[in-house]
Structures are given as structure tokens and as C-alpha cells.
Amino acid sequence: MMQTPSLDSRGRLGATRRPCILVVDDYPDTLDVWTLSLGAAGFDVVTAIDGLEAVTTAQALVPDLIVLDLGLPGRSGYEVAAILRETPATSHIPLIAATGFSHKAQLERARRVGFDVIMIKPCDPVDLIAHISRLIADTTSRQRASN
């Protein structure tokens, strides 16, 4: 089970908890199955079904990582990423784009708005979990170094 250091109720570093992943997709089956597979891999999963819900959930919970579809109703995944990158409280969150788009210009735009990893569907869950684990480990290392 993956665990990440966190601040306890008194603000001390050292407590451990399961990393929290926000998964955003407008296809309910994708949300269901990724909730199960990421849960089995040791993550707590929260979900959002459109871009507006993604922004409010991300700002309220500040998850450890976000897996974001690009073609979303409400606000697109590009817009969500841009908003989160500009907000100080969420700018550090690693972002994975998991998208059915495959056109070069669409993927290039995803890179420009600040996604750390871009995966084209169908995503192999093993690869998705590997990317999530690596990005969270990198973030944790950076936080330790800065402390």
C-alpha cells in the first residue's frame, strides 16, 4: 500500500495516510473502474464528472494528484489545468491527462497548460498507477528537501 507523509492534527510531519487522487471523467464507467483499481493500488479516490466540479473539488480537497480527461463538459481539462496551475494552493498538484484526443495539436496544448504526463486512452491501468506513484514520490521528495 502506498503511503505518504502528511501533517498530523498539530501540524507535525510524520503521520502517514493513503494518497488522495482526484479522477475527473465524464464517462461514468471510467470513474467506477479507476476508483476500484486505484483503490486496490493503495490510493483514496475522489471523483468529478465535469470541469466545474473538478475545480471546486480540487480547491476544496487539494488532492495529492489529479487524473483529468481533456474533453469535459463545463470546463475543458485544459481550462481546469490552467486554473489549478494559477492558484497557489493547487499549483503544485501533479496532473495526468488521460484523454481520448490523439491529435498532435491537442496533446501539444495539454503540455503547454502544464500536465506532467499525457496518456492516450485506452490507458493501461498498470502504467497509470506507475505514473501516479512516481509523480507522488517526486512531490514527496521535493517537499522533504524543502523542509
Binding site: 465524464d26 464517462y27 464507467d29 471510467t30 467506477d32 473502474v33 479507476w34 476500484l36 483499481s37 486496490a40 465535469d50 481533456l70 474533453g71 469535459l72 463538459p73 463545463g74 475543458s76 485544459y78 481550462e79 490552467a82 496551475r85 494559477e86 488521460a98 484523454t99 481520448g100 484526443f101 490523439s102 491529435h103 495539436a105 491537442q106 496544448r109 503547454r112 497548460v113 492516450i120 486512452k121 485506452p122 490507458c123 493501461d124 491501468p125 498498470v126
Partner: protein, 349 residues
């Protein structure tokens, strides 16, 4: 180059430049636009430049503009503008929404150029749009299948029965099959390669069967789905499977666009010359600007939160009905007021 010099350059030639908060929300146009269209400067309050777009192009342009925001923030489309002498002139419209940090205060603002265009490239644009949409839609169920297969490979879990995983895979295989089937059917219709095998069909019975198949999805959404049919038998000469497709697509469309607490009613009827099927829903309705395009391939209402699929269902409905010598129409009082789709077919002799 100074801003003043850039503005002078922008006023040269027949191209025009613009800045807009979104589709139909201009904040600045260069002089070329006003000269070409004969619009007085400054325009009157409440002026909407999109009213200068040719009526046959307007809904499609606004739809592409909205889609561009979701698909990458770039718009490249062709349209006709009504120019000063009242005729229509073709333009190529290129626009990009400002990414964060692009310009001071430029985030979310579109900047663009309109170039006079001699030739249209509809086919090329349609192909690009289609490939982007098809890629997204066809990969979506595949992605779910890959996820569920992964779960199947994990050691058995008491809280996740195998039948549940298998039925999820089956559901997505069916979704994929339907997408590909629709694509091939539209292709056959377009090429004139689809034929019908006519037989005597009891339309009421056919509709009741389709409603029974659609009932689970209506119930799952908390919708009231009912049939209204006359006591007399309504008989048509038609290809049973294709009329089943028509009714299924109409029901699926209405159920998808209607939320709880809502209702979908399907009526069957006939008069001396024709038989008809009418599907009425209390769903989100259809904007007047989009109404003329509901049967066009790949068209989906831009603000539709239930946007799914390739946008081919209603295209198939029209094609299959016309193949039977019938017609289909759509009506709606606009957003939030539901919709009515009516199919008429020649009555059996």
C-alpha cells in the same frame, strides 16, 4: 512596432482582426470588419456580430467555436458573412483563446483574424473534426474495458463479483459495437448502399417492444416512459429492423436529454394517408439556432451536458426514414422546454 502602428497595419487590406470574450462577445474589431459588412462605427448597444453570419452557417460556427474551447482552444473554420451590399462573402476565421500568461489580462480572451476566402475546405475540416471526435468516442469504451480487464486480473475480491466486471465489459463492448455500427450505417446511407427488406409490420407492437428495451435506462434515470397507441392495428410496409433502429435512436436520444423528474412519451397513430410515431420529452430542449442542424452528421448541441457519442443517431433516423419514403421533423420551444420528434411513414395499402 508600436500599438498604434499595429492598429494601422490591421486596417490595411481586406482581412479583419478581432478580440472577443467568447462566441458572439466581441470587444474589438478592426476597421476591415466594419467596412466589409457596412456596420456603422461605433456599433449600437447590444450589437451582435454573429447576426452577420449567414443563417446556414451560424449555428455550425458557434458550435465549432464552443467545441474549439474544449478541444484545444483553436478555431479554424470557414463562414459566410453578409457584407455591405447584402451578398454573402466567404471568410476563413482563425482564432485562439489566450492561455494563462499569454498577454496581460489575455487569459480566456479570443484573438483572431478573418481572411477573405475564395474556396471552401469543408470536406477537409469535416474530416479533421470527425477524426478528433471519432478518436475520443471510440477510445472511451475501450478505456473502460481495459480498466475492467485489469480488475479481472487482480486476485478475486469478495466485494467485486466477477459477473459485475463481466457485465461492465459487455456493456462497453456493446457501446463500441453501436458506435462502429452507426458509422458504417451512415456510410452505407451516404453511398446509397443500404437497401430495405419490406414486410408487413405492426407499428404499435414494434414500438411497444422498443419501449420495453428502453425501459431499464429510463427507470435508471427516474423517468416516466409511456406508450400511447390506438386500439386499431397500425400496419406499415417496412424493414422491421431498420424501423426498430429509428424508434430506438429516438427513444435513446430523448432519454439521454431528459433528467429526473422528467417524462418521455411515444405515440403511434395513423390517418388515411400515413402512419406516424411521435416522441415527446420534457428534456433540455433544442435552441432555435441549432434546430435546423439536429439531423446533420456529427452535430451535437454545444452546451449539451449529456454530450455523448458521435452525433450520428438522428442522422441515421432521417436516412432510414427517407429510405422508406417517409419524413422526420423536430420541434422545440427552446432550452428547457423539451422536444418533439415525429416520423411519418406511408400507410400500408
Amino acid at each position: 512596432m508600436t500599438e498604434c502602428e499595429l492598429r494601422r497595419v490591421a486596417d490595411l487590406g481586406s482581412a479583419f482582426y478581432f478580440r472577443a470574450a467568447g462566441p458572439g462577445e466581441p470587444t474589438w474589431f478592426s476597421a476591415g470588419f466594419f467596412e466589409a459588412t457596412g456596420t456603422p462605427q461605433p456599433p449600437s448597444p447590444g450589437w451582435d456580430w454573429t447576426e452577420l453570419i449567414h443563417p446556414d452557417d451560424r449555428a455550425a460556427v458557434l458550435q465549432r467555436w464552443t467545441q474549439a474551447r474544449a478541444a484545444g482552444g483553436r478555431l479554424d473554420t470557414e463562414l459566410r458573412l453578409t457584407v455591405a451590399d447584402g451578398t454573402a462573402r466567404w471568410y476563413r476565421l482563425l482564432a485562439e483563446v489566450g492561455p494563462s500568461g499569454a498577454c496581460d489580462g489575455g487569459e480566456g480572451v479570443w484573438v483572431g483574424v478573418g481572411l477573405e476566402s475564395e474556396q471552401r475546405s469543408d470536406a477537409r475540416e469535416l474530416t479533421t473534426e470527425f477524426l478528433a471526435t471519432a478518436s475520443h468516442e471510440l477510445r472511451t469504451p475501450l478505456n473502460a474495458i481495459a480498466g475492467w480487464l485489469h480488475m479481472l486480473k487482480l486476485s478475486s475480491r469478495a466485494d467485486l463479483p466477477e459477473w459485475q466486471v463481466l457485465s461492465a465489459i459487455e456493456r462497453n463492448v456493446q457501446a463500441e459495437k453501436a458506435l462502429i455500427g452507426n458509422l458504417l450505417d451512415v456510410s452505407r446511407l451516404t453511398r446509397g448502399a443500404m437497401s430495405i427488406v419490406p414486410e408487413r409490420v405492426d407499428l404499435t407492437q414494434l414500438v411497444r417492444g422498443s419501449v420495453a428495451n428502453a425501459m431499464a435506462s429510463a427507470v435508471a434515470k427516474g423517468l416516466d416512459l409511456r406508450v400511447e397507441a390506438p386500439a386499431d392495428q397500425v400496419t406499415i410496409i417496412a424493414d422491421r429492423r431498420k424501423i426498430e433502429q429509428v424508434v430506438w435512436h429516438l427513444l435513446a436520444n430523448s432519454i439521454r436529454c431528459t433528467s429526473h423528474p422528467g417524462a418521455v412519451a411515444i405515440q403511434v397513430g395513423q390517418d388515411h394517408a400515413r402512419s406516424w410515431v411521435r416522441v415527446t420529452d420534457s428534456g433540455e430542449g433544442i435552441d432555435a439556432t441549432f434546430l435546423p442542424y439536429v439531423f446533420e452528421p456529427f452535430s451535437q448541441q454545444p452546451r449539451n451536458p449529456a454530450r455523448t457519442g458521435l452525433g450520428l443517431g438522428l442522422t441515421l433516423v432521417r436516412g432510414l426514414v427517407e429510405l422508406h419514403g417517409g419524413s422526420v421533423s423536430a420541434a422545440s420551444q427552446g432550452h428547457g422546454h423539451g422536444a418533439v420528434f415525429e416520423v411519418t411513414l406511408p400507410r400500408a395499402a
